[in-house]
Assembly symmetry: C2
Amino acid sequence: MCGKEQATPVSKSFAPTKSSLDAITRINDDRIINLDQGDPMMFETYWNQMGDKCTVEISGYEWMSYFADAGNLCWFLLPGLGDAIKRLHRTVGNAVTEDRYIVVGTGSSQLFQAALYALCPPDALRPVSVVSAAPYYSCYPQLTEFLRSSLYKWAGDAYAFEEEGPYIEVVCNPNNPDGIVREPVVNRDDGKVIHDLAYYWPQYTPITFPANHDIMLFTFSKCTGHAGSRIGWALVKDKAVAAKMVEYMTIATIGVSKEAQLRAAKIMQVITDSYLDLAPKDVELFFEHAKRAMADRWKRVREIVAKSEMFSLPKYPLEYCHFSSNYTMTNPGFAWFKCKDDIGDCSNLFRRHKILGRSGKFFGVDAKYCRLSMIADEESFNLFLRRLSAIVETNDVPSGL
Amino acid sequence: MCGKEQATPVSKSFAPTKSSLDAITRINDDRIINLDQGDPMMFETYWNQMGDKCTVEISGYEWMSYFADAGNLCWFLLPGLGDAIKRLHRTVGNAVTEDRYIVVGTGSSQLFQAALYALCPPDALRPVSVVSAAPYYSCYPQLTEFLRSSLYKWAGDAYAFEEEGPYIEVVCNPNNPDGIVREPVVNRDDGKVIHDLAYYWPQYTPITFPANHDIMLFTFSKCTGHAGSRIGWALVKDKAVAAKMVEYMTIATIGVSKEAQLRAAKIMQVITDSYLDLAPKDVELFFEHAKRAMADRWKRVREIVAKSEMFSLPKYPLEYCHFSSNYTMTNPGFAWFKCKDDIGDCSNLFRRHKILGRSGKFFGVDAKYCRLSMIADEESFNLFLRRLSAIVETNDVPSGL
């Protein structure tokens, strides 16, 4: 399952390449645009407008202990962050938090690993199969395989899964890379499900119901755009599973940075207060701003794509969003491009035009697909639009493809 | 190698037990004192005196990106933290930083795992053996075994290691739990060495030379007492090893909290400035304060222990400390108690007196040893001294032992 492409995972997932370095340091039209990762810099504009409303101050003598809340199952969770998470979910209506254990993590990737650890018996004779319906998030296989654990193994596309015995299905909803609403597909009694709800926020998708699953993962990165903080959280129904996840976090990193938790709590509280009329309304509400900005980006991309038959993008149904109280469209954090058949390798095409995306083959599907970030900084996004226009208008498939 | 005790690792290492919860919430003489973990709260007094000198302020719009320094091999390391680490080491003289790669981690436990990942070939037929001379830090076996990786396996005491083939030796210097100066003991050509220098700071031990090893791990927790920040760093000689450690960090947690890095950088810069006469001298210098406080605690513990033959503690040679420019004593972060033979289980004895320590059996040696933290908060430490006096003076081995 973990083929050649997994052997050099980082260049295909996260670490900056020579190209992305160029993208950051050289500001001109000729630079390479890195849309491979989902670095959510588009939201920086909003937080700039907010000025010092979310500023946190931490003195040298504060939060020195490993412990944040010794009475809590998750002993390293700041009570203020736990409260902020619950308030935010109640305000948005995207997840049930009552009677749930909150486990904080260094981003949701770490909590994914914690969940695998929690769901796999330490003494099983065979590793538990981990599956997800293709196209699946490219980091799931990597996170499952990189330490060659004998607790679990990556078993690929959930649609094709036929092995007997216990398994774990990861359901990403709305799905990364394609934004589609997802449900479990294996549905056997011996299965456990991890719901990755990183993008279940109003700027990306209609909030159709409060999610109420056994293990739900969220990340601060995609909620507010604060990727640098490395804060994720899990809402967990079962106490024993939550305790095992905390055990994982305890061994792996002895908890989570208190500074990052403090800042995440502050930012979440400011957002929630603004929705509850507890704060002055001199700045647009966060999710309204973010939703408008995402919709605008998607409109512009779709307009360009519609000019030719080179590419297609997924279509999403209009659905009633209980948060917005109206019918809204899905505007995912990634655009899932499909090239027409004679182009072949979609990410190669973009690469030749100095646009870095991630090939469909890392998501368990064909190379005619390519995932491009829709949440990059304004300048990169505008430059991307200009190049995409040029590709589409000239029908310019560079030579050598 | 990974026996029953490893199956419930957390209660034996880090997570708060019902007892430690009591220790935190009940402030009276009857409470249980948790000296099991090395929560470095004794240094809080110093940072309180420093008032706002180390305060950091972070606005909502700052440090949102995953990236901190895309041009650096360690692309998530804040340049300010890299600089602060180098300046601090140059000031203290405890490690060579020239021509070294710095890899930042979520505490040094995470970097230990990153080093294992970096040193073990992904396609080896057999897991690489990981050893450390007993008594070894109780978390090494746990960190090596908890995911049942087939890249590496815990192979126990380095003194007893006779297996052929590649191996990794972890050298903790000065050693946790016993404070002894350590060197590698296996010394074969097919071995790699990880040096854990968590306690190689002037408050714990004489700085006899600038350490100059291939992989050196440090942690902010034990350097300044800021355990809550979860900041560790590795100084790595070989570029390919550093790159693989960065790869581990990229997959496992997509880097390290920027907020924690900012605060660590600020605190290290304040310490270094104070030694370089760049700051006003209205507060004692950090390492002088910390060294004095550690020496004072050790003196008080040794005075009590000397009153009977119930316990013994390691003796350390007086050595020349290049940082202090005089002969100084080792005053480790942990006291490594040895009970006389007829007592038997040392941690049980302490537990009956409501003192939680960690049994020698978790360090690969006999239960007549027990590790107790010497860096707890003032109140806990004073209460510990009173109870230790009572045990020693009454020769009070509680019934039922």
